[in-house]
Amino acid sequence: MDRRAVYKTAWIGGLLLAPQLLLVFTFFYWPTGAALFWAFTLERPWGGGNEFAGLDNFRMVFSDTAYWGAVWRSMVFALGSTALAMGLALLFALFCDRQLRGYKAYQTMLIWPYAVAAPAAGVAFRFLFAPEAGVFAALNKIHPDFWNPSVNGFHAMILIVVAYSWKYLAYNFIFFLAALQSIPRALIEASAMDGSGPLRRMWDIQLPLLAPTMFFLLVINITDSFVDSFGIIDLTTHGGPSKATTLMVYKIYFDGFKGLDYSGAAAQSIVLMLLVMALTFVQFRFIERRVHYR
């Protein structure tokens, strides 16, 4: 039986859909379309016409070693931040699920970072991790440059990974906790009766039943780490030192708005979009198979 309610005249449905369609078109298809157009043309920096360039923009991008550096750093960043944000979130959620004293307050506090905008978080971490005034200043006194993200590229990468993960940790925590609490208590009790202790129960029962949530978070975290890191980088390291934290998304901004190479930036956007789509596809194709849905 078809239980859908259907409008008798098509135009009412169209009218009701129009605002949403308008928004999607204005903020998604139009910019994407423009980027696609620019990616295949040569745009003049100060406006005033363009000419068709074919695949030249893409050839330029792919032959640029600086671009491949950005791709490599984006991968490192994606893996690092996803591992950190998911690992810690899972650990904290498991602690919270044990419902020890004070877990409610702890739970609320862990959710807050997600409500903090990336620029605010970026500024906070910039001060926290500042080599001359932050928490590391004391260590730097003992051993100069023990921590100095403005000089050491490795330190800078750690800084953006930590600052970025801080926010996603909160997001992941909410999902992990909700998933843990949806595991029937009787299952945990049954495994306790079967003789397993808390760690064994976590490994044998809770983690396997979290697999669907883990997979979902993995896709979201990896995807977002490629496109959502701009705010943090722009406020902490500006892509430096010497490009050590110039990820793909930051390079697009830098080449486009600082270097006024609109066409090159547009081509990079298209590549980034395709890369994220491909990664998502790979995850669904190869990792989802190992996920057991209840």
Binding site: P184, A186, L187, E189, A190, S191, A192, M193, D194, G195, S196, G197, R200, D204, I205, P208, L209, A211, H292, R294
Partner: protein, 363 residues
């Protein structure tokens, strides 16, 4: 095999006490059913034996060892849960063998024991399936297998049959009892279903409001209910209960009907509750203890027939064999044999026993 000693056990959640000082001794190899309405504390008591709930006060000893401070795994109990609580991501074989895996047995040894248990439960063909692919009865068997495989000292059952349909419930009930006859493991079974309790138990423990009302064999519980609550809870349809008064030696009055009873030592004017089982009434007979009923509704149950009506304005049910002739509704007189009258103190609700060696014992 082990005996279980429950001594003055209490359970409170904050200020809310749910089990009030329970004393119970379960003999080794016995099948005890804890029966009671929902919220009576029966599951809480079972979970305290299992170690899934902390004991607020009192002691529980299994095979002589006080287990209050022990983890569930150290107590040697296995439990079958109401919703089976099978691990959804493991196969049937892994579900059954999980306890052995945790105990560190080798894979071939595990496999051999899982196969033996699965065979005894008729699960051999399903070992590679996941619980989601099984029927309710098969899941129930897997839960049983998981409990059996560790050869525990005690089996605990927490309303394990309540999720099955009526036919399967009867079948599993019989299987559980056969299993107990075969293994002889001490078993504690919690249920709100009196038929399960009567058919499974060596002894029934009737609980109400966190107290034990009566402990006895199914027959004792049915024949000599220790309290008004047990009288009204056991039996289907339940016992007819009236408020009444003692009017003379061996004589009570309830709803305007005077009944002679075999009880001795009753004080004139004492308030009592009079209980009469629907099936112990003799329809149409005209002896001494007679009354009349206005039947307004008749239920056919196949082998028996229930007549619902009023006796002097109070609801009353009579059960007669289905072969009894007669119109569907109307006015009937019936006899209540003196030995069929149960008396309870109206204030305490406790049973007033008829004289020892009296008519009742002879019957």
């Amino acid at each position: 095999m082990a005996d279980i000693d429950i001594r003055s056990v209490r359970k409170a959640y904050g200020k809310n006490q749910v089990v009030h000082g329970v004393d119970l001794s379960i003999r080794s190899g016995e099948f005890v059913v804890i029966l009671g309405p929902s919220g009576c504390g029966k599951s809480t008591l079972l979970r305290m034996i299992a170690g899934l709930e902390a004991i607020t006060e009192g002691e529980i000893a299994i095979a002589g060892d006080v287990v209050n401070a022990m983890e569930p795994r150290e107590r040697g109990c296995a439990m079958v849960f109401q919703n089976y609580a099978l691990y959804p991501h493991m196969t049937v074989a892994d579900n059954i063998g999980y306890g052995l895996k945790v105990a560190g047995l080798s894979k071939p040894e595990r496999r051999a024991r899982v196969e033996t248990v699965a065979k005894s439960l008729g699960l051999s063909d399903y070992l590679d399936r996941k619980p989601g692919q099984l029927s309710g009865g098969q899941r129930q068997r897997v839960a049983m297998g998981r409990a059996m495989i560790r050869e525990p000292k005690v089996f605990l059952f927490d309303e394990p049959l309540s999720n099955l349909d009526a036919k399967l419930r009867v079948q599993m009930r019989i299987e559980i009892r056969k299993l107990h006859n075969r293994l002889g493991t001490t078993s504690v079974f919690v249920t709100h279903d009196q038929v399960e309790a009567m058919t499974l138990a060596d002894r029934v423990v009737v609980m109400n409001g966190g107290h034990i009302e009566q402990v006895g064999t199914p027959e004792e519980i049915y024949r000599n209910p220790a309290s008004r609550f047990v009288a009204g809870f056991i039996g289907s349809p339940p016992m007819n209960l009236f408020e009444g008064r003692v009017t003379g030696p061996g004589e009570v009055e309830a709803q305007g009907i005077v009944l002679s009873v075999p009880h001795a030592g009753l004080a004139r004017g004492q308030a009592v509750t009079v209980g009469i089982r629907p099936e112990e009434v003799l329809l149409g007979a005209a002896g001494s203890n007679t009354a009349s009923i206005d039947v307004d509704f008749r239920e056919e149950l196949g082998s028996v027939r229930l007549l619902h009506g009023q006796v002097a304005g109070a609801d009353f049910v009579i059960q007669v064999p289905a072969t009894t002739a007669g119109p569907k509704v109307g006015h009937f007189s019936f006899e209540v044999p003196a030995r069929a009258v149960h008396l309870f103190d109206a204030e305490t609700g406790m049973r007033i026993d008829p004289v020892a060696g009296g008519i009742r014992a002879a019957a």
